[in-house]
Symmetry: C2
Subunit: 331 residues, 2 copies
């Protein structure tokens, strides 16, 4: 007997509005992991959480705050979307290990150790060299393990990612990236990283951000699904899900801010370029949140079983939430 | 004709009080570079600057705020001590390159790129690996050069220090450390670093902190001065001065905080140990600020000339201030 299909998009950073909450419902999404911060410090992150708390309060028919796997089931039963908070950077904990438990208490469930650049914890994928986890980083991983804040290495460099997988006593995630054997890109991940990640029970969320896709905005659904099939054969379908990285309705100044934060006096184009500085155009089969089910259709077309599709589209994330959003139990 | 002798201690972090301001006068110090922060963020650093502004306001007969080399001469002529503000970490600029000019405007004249651990800018001397300057670090060095905020690498790791020397368009400093060929210690510096530093016009300030001294608290004045003589022969006496690292009247909990900040849930003993966790005892010839002139006497005893002694005891720092506390002039 298989569990009822539940759809989860495990990474978005849209410019949310009632119209997009309607899209979540149309898509049948029972959970979305939303990015609460990139470069914001603790106080600014709390401000962003307050904004999300207000969204949830204002739309009780559409949304609920997700903290546990069971919240996803409640959302599915009541036709709503459980919103899980996560950070794409460790900026919110500043230099204070005590803030890890605090942000968990406020609802954070994922935190990247780095966002492109070197952080106090580890090295980002845009630095020339990578020293792996720092002294603070090793302690932060242990504290995240203790409280149940999941490590996400989507924007981290290779050695740091391998060390996080190794040092962490619990499985970690790459919430939004693709294998670099399908599309070589600075943000996509090596086979070695993906094997290490999934060997330890970690999860990969496939990204729909065009810079991570083969042929970019022209990527076909078939190509994307064939990549998933190859990944499933290498890493096990049960360790894979979706983290769309959708930034619907965000103006281009937002991607400029993501790439440059407050640290730069030069304009850094990240995965873009001077000719193509803004958000790239989404592929026509994944333009918006409501296109989420198209992936399931594409997976069926290339021969995935119903159970595998249910897993890839949400149940694998749900199982991961079940085991990793709770505080560590002392043995 | 030599300039009038002027004594400068280019690094202290005492628990300041009117009694210590009297000691500065007794010692004849015309300038002291005081540490304003270790782990404090921008807002907390401003709070510490306010405390110092109040000290200076309350003791106009003893103190003045030092911003330029000329302020040191004014202090010397009026029998006061010019207090220069500096940071032992880049925590005050957080992740914001714009804060570099802001802290300069508030009086900061030195900033370490790291304090023992990895920072957003570079690697500290307690990390296992060292990637050198980060992407933000390269830009921060250029901005510090532009505004006239001097780079200090006292607590940084070797490669980061060499890269800072190389990338900086202006001379940099190691305000408080000794050569490791005299006393091997994690905080003391290699011959390669000291040659690169001084070849580019940078300054080394000799430390009187016992963990940096041969034989620790039992170090003799003669041994310390012989080390200075050897350093003068290797690096040129004109590139050397004093940065005593005196922490007079600080309770042991302060050194624990320096070492552990807010990042650790384990107790790190830094240069100390579980058996010797506190501030070590100062050598009997350098117990307090008023012992500063003893170094000049020791240098005379081993044969330094009067001009060399005047340079080592303060005029070398004064010359450095003259050239490096001003904004860069566009060519």
């Amino acid at each position: 007997m298989t569990e009822k299909p539940i759809l989860i998009d495990n990474l978005q950073y849209a410019n949310y509005s009632p119209a997009l909450f309607d899209e979540m419902a149309e898509a049948g999404l029972s959970a979305v992991h939303v990015t609460i911060c990139y470069h914001e410090n603790f106080r600014q992150t709390v401000e962003n959480m307050i904004s999300w708390n207000r969204h949830i309060e204002a739309h009780p028919d559409r949304l609920m705050h997700g903290r546990t796997a069971n919240d996803v089931r409640i959302a599915a039963e009541t036709g709503r979307t459980a919103i899980f908070y996560g950070f794409q950077n460790c900026a919110p904990i500043e230099d204070d290990i005590g803030l890890i438990e605090i942000v968990y208490q406020l609802g954070a469930r994922f935190m990247q150790l780095t966002y492109n650049n070197q952080s106090l914890l580890a090295t980002g994928c845009y630095e020339e060299d990578d020293t792996g986890l720092t002294r603070f980083g090793v302690q932060a991983v242990a504290e995240m393990n203790r409280v149940g804040l999941v490590i996400d290495m989507s924007h981290s460099a290779e050695r740091s990612t391998l060390e996080a997988i190794d040092v962490s006593s619990r499985p970690i995630t790459i919430t939004h990236a693709n294998p670099d054997w399908w599309h070589p890109a600075r943000r996509n991940k090596s086979d070695a990283v993906l094997r290490a990640l999934t060997d330890r029970g970690g999860m990969l969320g496939f990204s729909l951000y065009p810079h991570h896709l083969k042929s970019g905005s022209d990527c076909t659904l078939a190509s994307f699904c064939e990549m998933i099939a190859e990944a499933a054969s290498r890493y096990g379908a049960e360790n894979l899900g979706i983290g769309s990285d959708l930034c619907t309705d965000q103006p281009d100044k937002v991607v400029e801010w993501m790439r440059n934060g407050r640290w730069s006096r030069q304009l850094d184009f990240g995965e873009g370029s001077a000719d193509n500085p803004g958000f790239p155009e989404q592929p026509d089969w994944f333009r918006s949140i409501r296109d989420f089910p198209n992936i399931g259709a594409g997976l069926a077309d290339i021969g995935f079983s119903k159970d595998e599709i249910n897993g890839l589209m949400g149940l694998n994330w749900l199982r991961f939430y079940e085991h990793n959003f709770t505080p560590a139990v002392k043995s």
